[in-house]
Assembly symmetry: C2
Homo-oligomer: 412 residues x 2
């Protein structure tokens, strides 16, 4: 895979140039994307490539749920075929402002919901890459680009990162702007990032927003809570073994590991995610549902119709439970730095008609806490099994540092 | 002015029809908008008008900061001249889904910021109607339509409502969706409403969202906190007299009135509003600033350039202060039902190049609490002096009830 930090180091040292790095990614897309189908559109060549800004030389894929002024934006739906927004979404404008090069729009599932896209898993094209940020995860995993932008409303960053064996970072809610994306559920939609490693994804995010998020080495091994959730029985034996293996390696490397049982408030939070998502999506997509229901996939249409039937009182009660879950999620970190949990139920399903399930992600999206998929482990067939490092709200740097710490140890 | 509740009652009683009510508003716009200039676009006539849905027969003006699929959307900027979105903003789609008729797009200031628009104050065209929801307030005040949708990021609902002598309701943050509007500051942008009276604006909002927001009569006179803020010395003598008069009338009608001094946390919250707004606006408008700075008004361009220079650390500190202000705002209602305060510094300035100031509104937008402008009082020249009823977060119905209670007593 292409590394953000290596490209920037090489450019800084004069061994590479921004233009050469972007040109290489263009060639890699030409070479590989026919099979992977990670890109919805590739940027036209306008002329010389910027060599200024902290991210100059980084080719970025942007999930096609974000508006871009220079490339059509489909939101993964035939309804928006050929739609050309007038302006970049804020996170896209930020990306360009820092000198990065938006090389293309990456394939999203339909409106970032569940209908599988055409993208293949680079590890084995018979498997799904996960969703909804399918193209962003696959493009990084296939080594075409060093960084990609996605979104997570349920598990749409961490799950495809796990399935594709890359680092995926879902920041604290609202740390990065979600404007200019096609809203699905406004209290859940979270902008996130993909790169080869925790160090790379942290560097990219840090340079993008000007915050101290870099995954510097830790002075001390982290205190890790091995999170035992109410849905662990739905993880595959392989995934449970991967989490146990990661914990063992961390312990052997000096981390303190304590088991943490899921609080009732978090279990209940997981249960109301669908109510909040459904209610908000029915409002966000009210136009499409009213005028173009036939152009929606049956799953999405049913979800929106069910969402439209949710009463405000039921939504308010779900939001109250979400608040309780958020408070409980803060208390989880009283004694530990981060939690360790499965990133998904198992490896990517060998089924291109599904994107998997957000079961292990959605309560962390609901509570808004930072999550990082840590790649490195696989099943016996070599398919990636990601484990998830979860941090306290607003402590994104600590989550990224712990993810980097663990990733380095899993790799050795 | 046209009354939402009277129109709906007349239709229900068979004295009026949805089609006749909409047709009347069309004729009133034809007759009056040449002078007032409240409309950016008027809906084309497509055929028969819906007579189903709880808001059938209500002609609604939608601030031109919201996307509409059937009318161009300018965001008040020449940059978006002729821009035709593909989909309605969620609140617009909701409006149509409830049977209301979106009769036109109302004039907004440039990107809902400070540059004055061409709209005149219906009480005296030499005066500003206020902003940024200039057209929405003026269209209701001029009796052209019974209801209008606006937004408030600083004081853009309550202030023009005060200047134009109509009821303006800024709901609790996120009670109504703000998707599909041109985002300015995502933690501040709040969708709100205008109508002739508190009863009308409450009924419109209630039928729009399916929540119990109607301004039913109170069993007991409200407990009112007469709010003494750190900026009261910037209100005109007329405005201070209007607030005192409203308090006197309320007291004479049985309300308990206690003075409440502004807590330090709220004063500090008011001071950081500009930091949060500026930082977020620079991100939200990054595309326009990067590519079209020359097409922005000098005031907006400077605000965005200053916003771009705000460090994330300063923004985070401002957000911390906003959180403290929110907590303090909750405690304000320990002993009272609502607060009473000026809606603006005074009457609408006799200056069409300004829209006035949000000084008396912005901390309530920041804290997300419901506010209602109560019309009824005027200066000696007959220009409206609105007073503001402020409620506890999430207690929108109580704020609307208290506003209705007060409005009724001011009118007698």
């Amino acid at each position: 895979m292409l590394s953000v930090s290596k490209i920037l180091e090489d450019i800084a040292a004069g061994r590479d140039s921004a233009e050469a790095a972007i040109t290489r990614s263009r060639a890699l897309i030409d070479e590989r994307d026919g099979e992977i189908q990670a890109f919805e559109a590739v940027s036209p060549v306008y002329g010389p490539i910027a060599s200024e800004g902290p991210l100059a030389g980084i080719a970025v894929g942007v999930k096609d749920i974000f508006d871009s002024y220079d490339m059509p934006t489909t939101y993964g739906s035939p309804l928006y075929h050929g739609y050309q927004p007038r302006a970049d979404a804020p996170v896209v404008a930020m990306t360009r402002a820092r000198g990065a090069y938006v090389i293309g729009k990456t394939v999203t599932t339909e409106f970032a919901f569940m209908k599988a896209s055409r993208t293949a898993n680079p590890h084995d094209p018979a498997h799904t890459p996960g969703g909804s940020s399918s193209g962003s995860a696959a493009a990084v995993a296939a080594g075409m680009i060093p960084a990609a932008i996605g979104t997570q409303t349920g598990g749409s960053v961490v799950r495809p990162a796990s399935f594709c064996g890359v680092s995926g970072f879902k920041p604290s809610f609202r740390l990065f702007p979600s404007g200019g994306m096609k809203t699905f559920a406004w209290t859940l939609d979270t902008t996130g990032f993909f790169a080869a490693s925790a160090r790379d994804v942290a560097l990219f995010a840090a340079l993008l927003c000007g915050r101290d998020l870099t995954a510097d080495d830790l002075d001390d091994a982290p205190r890790i809570g091995l999170y035992r959730s109410a849905v662990d029985d739905q993880a595959s034996p392989d995934m449970l073994a991967a989490v146990a293996q990661a914990a063992d390696i961390a312990r052997a490397s000096g981390a303190s590991i304590v088991e943490i049982a899921e609080p009732e408030e978090i279990r209940r939070g997981r249960e109301v995610h669908a109510v909040i998502q459904g209610y908000e999506a029915a409002i966000s997509m009210a136009h499409e549902l009213a005028y173009h229901a036939d152009a929606l996939s049956p799953t999405l249409r049913e979800t929106l119709e069910e969402g439209r039937a949710i009463l405000p009182q039921a939504y308010d009660e779900a939001r109250r439970r979400a608040r309780h879950a958020r408070k409980a999620a803060t208390r989880l970190f009283d004694e530990v730095d981060v939690l360790l949990a499965p990133s998904a139920t198992g490896v990517a399903p060998r089924d291109r008609d599904t994107t998997g399930t957000a079961l292990f992600n959605k309560v962390w999206t609901l509570t808004g806490v930072p999550c990082v998929n840590v790649p490195g482990l696989t099943d016996s067939a070599g398919m990636p099994l990601g484990v998830q490092v979860i941090g306290r709200f607003g402590r994104d740097k600590q989550a990224l540092q712990a993810a980097n710490w663990l990733e380095t140890r899993l790799a050795t």
